[in-house]
Symmetry: C3
Subunit: 337 residues, 3 copies
């Protein structure tokens, strides 16, 4: 995907996004300058194109040069109310690769109404030190609450069963980088589509593109009705399947999630389906030569290690794409891209 | 307060301050070069003026530029034997905003005489890696002990019920920056004046200036006799009050601390006084237009959230002032200011 | 030791060392470029000379300048499956003093076969973010396993009772820097020679030089037979002793380790020998003026604090040498030295 020169503001009407609020003399004309990143829904198709254009430039820069000082002197506050080493590390290296630095606050004691410090107070304390805040919090809506009080940009790094927009963006960016485009692709989501937050967000993002989506899961782990309704309204018409067999040969992107035994009331039901949701060399033999195999990680055994050496296995490269996307978002909200 | 060009050594006679002991080719003529920062008592009035002059420059630099490489390559060892996220973060961002970096050592296992490593050994190990050490330790006197063994500067980041000099300095610096001066002000300390370490240190610092001080607390939580004696000897004559009403209209700076229920033997006593020690919109309506409202944070409910939007509420800006003061101290002991 | 211009590849034939695998445009002709550092056995005498030459340059640079940007933009992943504050701090400051930065991952939840993420997956995730990985892990062989899967250099920071090569290298580098050379020295290892991993590795390294080695320990804590066999095969002929008295006057380097009470089946045995393994002023009075006194630290009481001020006490300087050695190794595997 070639980067299009779309310099336009975010398409949201949420008042918290209207006023850029960065402290220093940065380019106030950058389209994302001072914005919070709270949900995938705030990204129009043009916003996605713009973001992935910047992320692609970040990828090329890291590959060729390793680092440059675009965000020199900027400090990221990595405020994690629950542990997520992978996400925290990705954000931390993203700012460091751009010459900035990070303050990691781990496992903040959870604040109730009765005791300790409220999230608004913690946020307003942190922003005295930082230029941008990445917030991980177990409660839905906490990122939006933080953004309402913060005068510095807040990036949602996962708020409970709510949103985890940078994960969804990196998933889509992986498709863009591996396949070269999104429109026209056949994308198959496999496994637990009921509880997996990542596939819900990815489906929402995909609905902005002209793609064919197959949903393969046990009947009890189908995509939830509300997500399906949203996606259908956007013009996507996903088809639902019990097994991969029928759709695999035409699939351009296979996105695997884990089917957990604990999700089944009857253990026998799990045993009868589990092998259908494991990707191994045999599976890959039936897949397209150009297919991209993805997984949000960590995996247990839903993708066999024998597949790791297959060039179509993109799940380790996916981590790198995540760093590039976060580099892009940090540069964008800080008025540097 | 305009920065005065006072380039003079610390006024202490403590032998540990006499010999600067920095390793590299820094300006050995800087007045604080190689000094430890252990107690507010080591600061003369001139030292305070000098320190706040540097801190004010740091504030302007951060506001205009964000960062500069005054301490590039310098490493701060943030050695915290007990958790204090706020203080640790403030020190960490202070060195990073000056181009240096930080090593955070959290919750060091407590060393007894019988087991594990002694503080002198840990300090002499740390200083092999770092250029300056910020030490937080639960035992009174530990910072002085560390400084005795260290060849690099040690900054006391709180030693038990002992000193926390950078907190006291940031409180006074907040007054300087918000009011423009200290002499001539009427300053009211409200709440628990018996157990609050911060108000004791602030009172000591204020006694070096020509100010009027009101102490408002429940009778059982009055300022301790030893602190009062020290302060009186310095020429300050604080007046004691049970309620804020009489002194509020003339107050230039209102410093609020929390009155904790647990401090009262009789719960009924707490219930009868607690509303007198809560600052809300009604309180602010009776206060001067130019008043500065401060709090060491975290707060629970002794300042109502409705007050946060009042321009006189300085408690979030206070965090920033803390970072500027710590930037100044780091630059000073490392021979750069 | 003057740095010799030996630009030659590592002498190992292990296939994992053959192919440098660094991502960016670094000097691919550097002899250690892209190598893993897994064991002291991979270092030939020439490799040691080369490494210590670079480490000596690092020492001079830090002493004179403090820092320089040789590894600017490089990120070290400090992946510690068990806590080792000293080693983690040494690696972290090593990369920072060269202008790079660090991602610290502490106390990773231990992954079994049945649950959680495997070491190969974690390593391949980490390397998406980092340029080099320092791995501390409780299981023997884990560093080699990690290196097999990683495409970025892996440095073993201790794998259980296995290897801890950077510790052994810093011990030998301390001797080089304090004595000026290794050949011709009389080196005495004192204390628990049975369980102490550091003395085993040091003995292996010393066997590449022309030195006289004395082993002083209680009979029950002698050097293990397999280490003795290895060392004898290399041409070293250590002599074993029960007490220090006879060998102390001729000793150039005295390396002390702790004799732990728990190692003795019979407490009376411990009481009868313990004083023979404590170094105090009396011991130092009988030692050479030029002797170097070392200890891997932390110490409990096997070296009296009264000895700390003796210029022969090198154990605090030893920490600094560790940082210089790690700076050298990082620069070498990243193709910068």
């Amino acid at each position: 995907m070639i980067r299009e020169n779309v310099h336009r503001p975010m398409t949201t009407t949420d008042p918290i996004h209207r006023n850029p609020h960065l402290p220093f003399g940065d380019q106030q004309t950058s389209p994302f300058y001072g914005n919070d990143i709270l949900t995938v829904n705030q990204f129009s198709r043009d916003d996605l194109v713009y973001t992935f254009g910047v992320a692609h430039e970040m990828r090329e820069m890291v590959t060729r040069v390793g680092t440059f000082d675009l965000l020199k002197g900027k400090i990221l506050g990595n405020l994690f109310y629950e542990v997520s080493t992978r996400t925290a590390t990705s954000f931390a290296t993203a700012i460091q690769r751009l010459g900035g630095s990070v303050i990691q606050i781990n496992e903040v004691k959870y604040s109730s109404v009765a005791k300790g410090e409220s999230l608004p107070d913690t946020i307003r304390t942190m922003e005295a030190y930082c230029d941008v805040i990445a917030l991980r919090h177990p409660e839905v809506g906490s990122a939006a609450l933080a953004a309402r009080y913060a005068s510095k940009p807040v990036i949602n790094a996962g708020d409970g069963v709510g949103e985890h927009p940078t994960q969804a963006l990196l998933d889509l960016f992986t498709i863009v980088e591996e396949q070269g485009h999104v429109d026209g692709l056949t994308i198959t989501l496999l496994g637990d589509l009921r509880y997996g937050r990542t596939v819900h967000s990815l489906a929402r993002l995909l609905s902005k593109f002209d793609v064919k989506v197959h949903l393969v899961s046990p009947p009890s782990l189908r995509m939830p009705a509300n997500v399906m309704a949203e996606v259908l309204e956007s013009g996507l018409s996903p088809t639902e399947h019990d097994t991969l067999n029928g759709v695999l040969p035409k699939t351009d992107v296979l996105y695997v999630t884990r089917v957990q035994k604990e999700r089944f009331a009857n253990p026998a039901d799990y045993e009868s389906v589990k092998s259908s949701y494991v990707v191994d060399e045999e599976t890959m033999a039936m897949a397209k030569e150009s297919m991209t195999l993805m997984h949000p990680f960590p995996r247990v055994n839903e993708i066999a290690m024998e597949v790791d050496a297959d060039p179509r296995a993109a799940y380790f490269r996916q981590m790198g794409y995540g760093m590039y996307v976060r580099m892009a978002l940090l540069a964008m909200v800080l008025g540097k891209a």
